[in-house]
Amino acid sequence: MDQLNFTGKHKTVLIGFMILGLVCMGLTFAFDDELHTRFWSNYLHNSVFFTGIAFISVFVLAAFITALAGWHVIFKRVWEAYAQFLLVGLGLMLLVIIGIWGHFHHLYHWADKEAVAADPILSGKSSFLNPVWYTLGTILILGTWAFFAWKLRQLSLDEDKNGTADFDHHRRMRIWAAAFLPIAGFTSAAMVWQWVMSVDAHWYSTLFAWYTTASWFLSAVSLTILTLVFLKSQGYLEKVTFDHLHDLGKYMFAFSIFWTYLWFSQYMLIWYGNVGEETVYYRHRLDHYPVLFYGNLLLNFVAPFFILMRNDNKRKYGTLVFTSVIVFFGHWWDFFQMIKPGVRITAMEALAHHASGHGEHAEHATEAAHHAVDFAMGFSIPGLLEIGTMLGFLALFLYFVLNRMSKVPFTAKNDPYWEETTHHVVEIHDVEQVLGHH
């Protein structure tokens, strides 16, 4: 079976989960504070998370094409399909933009004109952190990403039909891919600053973009492993072997360490420097969100590090799937941890401000808001509504991606690396396996 048959049962299940997600979002909206902080932060969190997975897919494709890698070609249709989700991501982010212009939400402190005018730090940053840039940046950059995702896939699909022996398609793909890498490097940082880091508008970290992108990368790799195992269980991609999964497992292992390295570097430098306006980020999380903070490290470092350390564990479906689920959920948790505390402060300040009216009470209320961060479901830890919302977004992602996938064959038969990828061997356990190839 070279083409995915995406019908019936799977569609029903995914639509079911999408409805569940919508119900959860509706419930969140209905039982929220008057600014609907929990609803909007959930929406931003999941939109950024799944858009990032799509971005990483096109980035990884471009990186692998540029590096003349061949091992992934056997499942490159999966990443090509993932990458097309960028267009949906653009739609999702547009709603956040509409919310900024229409003042439907208070996700970003810098979007509040009055607050910016009264605040020297925010007004200093306002040439970058403003609604116009947010809008333009998101539309232009997400649009660029989506264009490259479309272009690479379109060339790859055309290669199936009109591929020639001089690999003209692949040569063109290499140009597009190489052009995309620097663009992706700079623009992803800009997007991460605007979408995620600016929820803590006073705070900044130069490492943040790397750290967030590493988080996206791990989400994409773990979801890829899960998708491949699912497709194999349905009888597709039978040529994807343990060796391909082993390499994906290595990526998950290595990048988990890389993520931890960045996580720790950011933490240690701020801890060592001990500059109040930087440490506030961690002080706040350590004091009020210990479960989020330490859980993050447990899910994203301790678990994958010790489970995937042994070589054999990367070659077992069970362990690999188990770890992928942990890592996927772990990085979703990481984004939750990045977004929620900052959004919550902004919302509390805004609420206190509204309640006290203008004048001298305002400052007092703001002060009070900083201390009123008791345990709250959906902020201190993800609640059931957050899980439901995530499942809804995941179902939307998978529905779109599987639908894209079902339109084209899995086999990229004219790809110059097709032979290489079907004979990809990481570790030989049976010598007949290698002799059989020749």
Partner: protein, 176 residues
């Protein structure tokens, strides 16, 4: 020398695939291969020779863990008991400041420990001279060697014909 006066019959192959097939053939015919020499690691040679997975990495993990503990305990002892100094207003026991050094010592212990273990297993040390069968096995030849010290003429010619029959471009004998 340790293995002095050993008579070795060996075949030289030009290609690693031919070598790999010859090794598999020898295993099927239940011949006892003394050793195989290649200029670079050949994929699939270990399982073909029936070698089990190396346990060197387990030793590496143990050395690394010892390194982690050594660094953490030593720094903790120095900075809390033996010579407490305040750096930058931080507490005596400052775990984040210890982590980079802990990491380095872990790597150091693991790497040095594994190198020493590997050299010990292989019988390598400064001053040891290891006899080579043929200089070209470090360049472009692949070699299968049989120990024929106690073999009679029939057995030797049988091995000889196996080597040339399985694609060896040269068959030689050498006393090492």
């Amino acid at each position: 020398m340790r293995n002095a006066n050993k008579e070795v019959l060996y075949g030289l192959y030009d290609d690693e695939e031919v070598l790999l097939k010859a090794v598999v053939k020898a295993q099927h015919e239940h011949r006892t291969i003394m050793d195989v020499f290649t200029p670079f690691p050949v994929h699939g040679l270990d399982p073909a020779l029936g070698l089990s997975e190396s346990r060197l990495h387990i030793a590496g993990f143990v050395y690394g863990a010892i390194g982690t503990l050594t660094a953490l305990l030593f720094m903790t002892w120095v900075f809390t008991r033996d010579w407490p100094i305040i750096f930058g207003g931080k507490p005596y026991f400052s775990l984040p400041a210890f982590i980079p050094i802990t990491f380095e010592v872990t790597v150091l212990f693991a790497s040095i420990g594994m190198v020493v273990t590997f050299y010990t297993i292989c019988g390598m040390a400064p001053g040891v001279t290891n006899p080579t069968l043929d200089d070209r096995i470090t360049d472009d030849k692949f070699c299968i060697a049989f120990d024929v010290t106690n073999a009679d003429a029939d057995e030797k010619s049988d091995i000889q014909s196996f080597l040339s029959g399985s694609g060896a471009s040269e068959v030689n004998t050498k006393n090492i």
